[in-house]
């Protein structure tokens, strides 16, 4: 019987209507409880964080509720809600794996599912290996021997595949980068170990403590690497581009033009698009997920209200915002609408596209653009530095081509930013973060005057985590480094 708890997305990759995250193991219910509340309590009643719903659930039932991040604060004292979801609980041994299984049915967006997964990982669940649910099912006698043979093959094939895939990925910059950091850590470790294993060897302790200082830099580099995970995700899962703007600004028409099909219902009645629409397209080999959102304005009916709320949520998830301005409104109005919209969504880059320029007089387009710039300058605030591009388009006259060109430019630039090492795998990201935490602890222990062996124990953990990424044998490495770099012996 396995002791640890594992989780993975168990629906096919991509953005389906629904996405299921499966959690299996002794801590399945307990862990989900840390991030799940079956109803949202007001800020006065703060026990949302301790509500233990899942462990008390009757087995084989469903419960409706919210996934939240207990370590955030959305401003009103409540934690940030990630998604509305249904949670089902299957009590072991009568579950697929034979262990306690909790399945979280989310709304299917990859970003949401990843966020939920990362919360689970934060609370001690580990990513399931390929085929691991099935393996556990077999180990716990839930499936028969004939199937087990196939599973053995599958596990092997999958791990070999992923190992190969990992190796291919590792052959590039990531391996180089991780190895460079691992070298640094191992060399420092070798110095500490020389001081420990050869106590009479000159003044190694001093040197070792100095070497520790250099690790701050390594920690910084690893932090940078950890952040690339997000960029890696974009390359892998697609650039989420949210199209937003005033009702009837031409968002749906643009989407259709971009996709070359009539995906969105286009009418000239403002507020036609009441839900978000998601479509994938290919731009210069990169996947781009376009989402068309409901028009931004004060909604009049309840359905539309939900649409607007959805639109904001979609903006929060997006990597890039494509704002469509309607020149029927003044440049100042459009800029304030945008500012209002993205005020709570900091950091994301925006393409400001002025549509319907075919309806404008010859010079009016240029004039409008100038006015937009002035308005932006005047407002500053939340928008400073976030406007990537201001462009004049007409969906009717090759406006889509212009947008595609801008997207390609953006992707290439962002891709170039990732030309160095990129973390793409969940496991690599987790190991990198583990290494960072260990290095920080080592630095903390060193500066608070902890003895060398304690510092070393944290560094061993750090080196071990990095070693797991590239498959190095850390003990051998360090022992080798000790003997090749230091002159020791009788």
């Amino acid at each position: 019987m396995e002791r640890d708890t594992i989780a993975a997305i168990s629906t096919p990759p991509g953005n389906g209507g629904i996405g299921i995250i499966r959690v299996s193991g002794p801590e399945a219910a307990g862990t989900v409880d840390r991030i799940f509340a079956s109803f949202r309590k007001s800020s006065k009643d703060k026990d949302i964080r301790t509500a233990r719903q899942v462990v008390r659930m009757c087995a084989f039932t469903l419960r409706h509720g919210y996934i939240f991040d207990p370590e955030t604060d959305s401003g009103d004292g409540d934690p940030e809600l990630i998604d509305e979801c249904l949670v089902s609980f299957m009590k072991g041994p009568r579950s697929y794996t034979g262990e306690d299984v909790v399945e979280i049915n989310t709304h299917g967006g990859t970003a949401v599912m990843r966020r939920v997964l990362s919360l689970l990982f934060r609370y001690g669940v580990r990513p399931a290996e390929p085929g691991e649910f099935t393996k556990r099912a077999f180990m716990n006698g839930r499936i028969d021997l004939t199937r087990a043979e196939a599973v053995a093959e599958l596990i092997r094939a999958n791990t070999e595949e992923s190992r190969k895939a990992a190796m291919e990925q590792m052959s590039g910059r990531l391996a180089e980068t991780v190895n460079r950091h691992a070298d640094m850590v191992e060399e420092t470790l070798a110095r500490l170990q020389v001081a420990i294993d050869y106590p009479e060897y000159d003044d190694e302790e001093q040197v070792a403590r100095e070497a520790l200082a250099a690790l701050n830099e390594t920690a910084g580099e690893l932090r940078k690497l950890s952040r690339t995970y997000d960029r890696g995700r974009i390359l892998r899962e697609g650039l989420r581009t949210a199209i937003c703007g005033r009702p009837n600004a031409g968002k749906s028409s643009l989407l259709n033009a971009l996709l070359g099909s009539e995906r969105a219902i286009v009418t000239d009645i403002p507020g036609t698009t009441r839900d978000t629409i998601e479509e994938a397209m290919d731009v210069a080999g990169y996947p781009v997920i376009l989402t068309d959102t409901a028009g931004l304005r004060e909604a009049e009916d309840a359905v539309e209200k939900i649409g607007v709320e959805r639109a904001r949520e979609e903006l929060r998830r997006a990597d890039l915002i494509l704002f469509i301005a309607d020149p029927a409104f003044s440049a100042g109005d459009e800029v304030s609408l945008l500012e209002e919209t993205v005020r709570e969504i900091p950091g994301k880059e925006i393409i400001f596209a002025v549509n319907k320029t075919d309806l404008l007089a010859a010079n009016a387009g240029i004039q409008y653009e100038k006015a937009v710039r002035e308005a932006l300058e005047k407002r500053g605030g939340g928008l400073t530095g976030r406007i990537r591009e201001i462009c004049l388009i007409s969906v009717k006259r090759q406006g889509a081509e212009e947008i595609i060109r801008l997207l390609r430019e953006y992707l290439e630039q962002r891709g170039a930013g990732c030309g160095g090492a990129i973390l793409t795998g969940e496991r690599h990201k987790m190991l990198t973060d583990k290494a960072i935490a260990a290095i920080d602890r080592a630095a903390g222990a060193a500066s608070s005057g902890m003895p060398l062996d304690i510092v070393a124990s944290d560094l061993w953990e750090c080196a071990g985590a990095l070693g797991e990424i590239t498959g190095r044998n850390v003990t051998e490495d360090v022992v080798d480094a000790i003997f090749s770099k230091f002159c020791l012996g009788k």
């Binding site: 093959e153 596990i155 420990i196 304690i454």
Partner: protein, 661 residues
């Protein structure tokens, strides 16, 4: 095939025959005899019993831990070192509890006398001079393979026995190399054992060739110590033994024996020049040495070649004992010709007129591939044959003694019909040592280092008794007195920890002026004494100034106070390591049945299949440590094992219900 006829006269019948009376052989023989089995131990010469053929010291980093473990399990090395120490130092005092390491300089001759006398006076143990040339075997009872049945000496004498423990050190086909000269020899001018490795090879073992070396010894009266730096001992009261005799041996410093210092000097540009000019005469560089030498113990010429930018190397001058002037020059191991040795020794400060008594030499010897052994140190090829020490590719007295003890214990347990005692990597350095040798093998002499242990905060020298005394009790090697003292000690430590965790220090003026005195941040609310103890700048000793004088704290002896402090101060780190230990043990507990046929395991790579088949790991955990076996292969193996188990259970069920299988 081995000749089985008992042609010669039978000189004795024993349960266990131990070949070699070095550090491994002594422990093996004592363990087997003390566990109640008739034991004979052979040495090429009885003047070589427990000889320290290299440095005259016991302990040091990782090795100090080994000695304390040997003691906790009921071995002799710790007591022998305590009885004959001429100086004790505590290494790494400032570097943390996991790596505190005691080391004693030993009176080499007294140590031999002590150990030989213990062998002589142990009931059921016979000590014999003789070179064993052959291990005799017979068909095993179960019809599979062979089991040992006796040994033969070079004089043709035959001894019947049920188990053999081979502890052959550097004797097997030993060849000493000094410059252009080389000759057949054992260590330290002893005779070699030239025939036994052929017998081992015939029994199916792979023979490898290893190399080691030792520096010159000089007459201390010819050293000018004024040009060197004195290295004195500290903590003369320390004993390796957890249960030292009431009246300690007066030969050791713990028993009041005088402390003899060591000295430190350095090589210089002149030394390096002499060595460089004569490198062509070194057998290491002209290719006449085939054995693989240890990297951690390079010769001086090796150091100068590999670390050309280092302008000097440390040389420690270690006395060999009280009643001798011989001094060991630690750092000057060499295989250069005698005349070059003389020149470079004379180039060193303090050694200008040193009179060399024994030249440095390199020695090559035969060893076996330790992956042919089980974790119990019993051969996989020959039932009842155990191997320990340098024959397994290790190096060092402590490493040898640790293996010897385990081999002796396991030979005795086998004769009792009990399962072997196997220490895992989270229980003892001995466990790390044996697991490394047996699972991965070694291509160079293997030295124990703290870097090789994963769970160093758990494997401390101060708690070796807590880790191993109860295990030693089960074998019968630990005396009742030692067990009682151990349990009392643990109870006192537990009480002290409980008190310190529960006692709240008030945030008053007395407390805060105490804290200010040691530049420790003041407290505003009451905190437990244990919390204060976790501050790096505070110690239990200091805390006693403000703690009430309760017996739980006042009556702690120094070693108990030490362990109390370590367990509180580093509890967070220790807890984290214990979690890892838990995961580790889970994998160790997943046993692989001995009769597994790897050809039947589907979908593992051929390379892994070959390795698994050769090493035959005893658990999934051990299998994972074999170099070159991938996680995918481990997964496939686990699925296969589960299938097998489930199949066996179904068969049993069918059989019980009378259905045909």
């Amino acid at each position: 095939m081995i000749v089985m006829e008992e042609s010669g006269r039978c000189f004795g019948e024993y349960d266990v025959a131990v070949i070699g009376a070095g550090h491994a052989g002594c422990e093996a023989a004592l363990a087997a005899a003390r566990m109640g089995f008739r034991t004979v131990v052979f040495a090429v010469t009885l003047d070589g019993v427990a000889n320290m053929a290299c440095n005259p010291s016991i302990g040091g980093t990782a090795k100090g831990q080994l000695v304390r473990e040997i003691d906790a399990l009921g071995g002799e090395m710790g007591r022998a070192a305590d009885a004959t120490a001429i100086q004790v130092r505590f290494l790494n005092r400032s570097k943390g509890p996991a790596v505190y390491s005691p080391r004693a300089q030993i009176d080499r001759r007294q140590y031999q006398i002590y150990m030989k006398h213990v062998l002589e006076t142990t009931p059921g143990l016979d000590l014999r001079q003789g070179e064993i040339t052959e291990i005799l075997t017979t068909a095993a009872e179960d019809g599979r393979g062979r089991r040992v049945c006796g040994v033969v000496t070079h004089l043709g004498a035959f001894y019947r026995c049920r188990c053999v423990v081979a502890c052959t050190g550097t004797y097997l086909k030993g060849r000493v190399i000094i410059g252009e000269n080389s000759y057949s020899s054992g260590p330290d001018g002893q005779f070699p054992a030239n025939r036994l490795s052929d017998s081992l090879r015939q029994l199916g073992h792979t023979i490898i060739r290893l190399k080691t070396g030792t520096p010159p010894r000089v007459n201390g009266l010819s050293i000018d110590y004024s040009r060197t730096e004195i290295q004195d001992g500290d903590e003369p009261g320390f004993t390796f033994s957890f249960c030292p005799p009431e009246k300690p041996d007066p030969r050791g410093v713990a028993g009041g024996g005088s402390v003899i210092p060591c000295y430190l000097t350095h090589t210089n540009a002149k030394t390096h020049e002499i060595i460089r000019e004569n490198l062509h005469r070194s057998p290491l560089f002209n290719g006449s040495i085939e054995g693989v030498g240890p990297r951690y113990c390079p010769s001086i010429e090796d150091k100068i070649m590999r670390f050309a930018d280092k302008d000097r190397h440390q040389i420690f001058l270690e006395p060999l004992g009280r009643e001798t002037e011989e001094v060991y020059l630690q750092g000057l191991s060499s295989s250069l010709p005698e005349d070059v040795q003389t020149d470079f020794v004379h180039s060193i400060a303090g050694l200008e007129n040193a009179s060399i008594m024994r030249p440095a030499y390199a020695i090559e010897y035969d060893a076996i591939d330790a992956t042919e052994l089980r974790l119990s140190l019993e051969s996989k090829l020959v039932d009842g044959l155990f191997c320990a020490g340098q024959i397994n590719g290790s190096s060092g007295y402590e490493e040898a003694a640790g293996q010897g003890l385990m081999a002796g214990i396991n030979a005795a347990l086998k004769l009792r019909g009990e399962p072997p005692l196997i220490l895992d990597r989270s229980e003892a350095y001995i466990g790390v040592l044996i697991d490394d040798l047996v699972t991965r093998g070694t291509k160079e002499p293997y030295r124990m280092m703290t870097s090789r242990a994963e769970y160093r905060l758990v494997l401390r020298q101060d708690n070796a008794d807590a880790r191993l005394t109860e295990k030693g009790r089960k074998t019968g090697l630990v005396s009742g007195e030692a067990i009682a003292r151990f349990r009392e000690k643990q109870a006192r430590i537990d009480r002290a920890i409980a008190f310190l965790s529960a006692y709240f220090v008030p945030p008053d003026g007395k407390t805060n002026s105490f804290l200010a005195k040691y530049s420790s941040a003041e407290i505003r609310t009451g905190v437990s004494a244990a919390d204060l103890l976790r501050r790096p700048e505070l110690t239990l000793e200091k805390l006693r100034e403000i703690l009430p004088a309760v017996p739980d704290v006042c009556e702690l002896g120094p070693t108990e106070a030490e362990q109390t402090e370590i367990r509180i101060k580093y509890s967070g780190y220790i807890q984290r390591e214990l979690v890892q230990v838990g995961q580790f043990r889970k994998r160790e507990r997943q046993r692989i049945p001995e009769d597994i046929n790897y050809a039947d395991v589907p979908s593992i790579s051929n390379e892994s299949r070959e390795k698994l088949n050769r090493i035959r790991p005893e658990s999934i955990g051990q299998a994972m440590r074999i170099l070159g076996v991938s996680p995918a292969d481990i997964a496939a193996l686990m699925v296969y094992l589960h299938k097998r188990e489930a199949g066996a259970a179904a068969d049993a069920e069918n059989a019980a219900e009378g259905r045909p299988i």
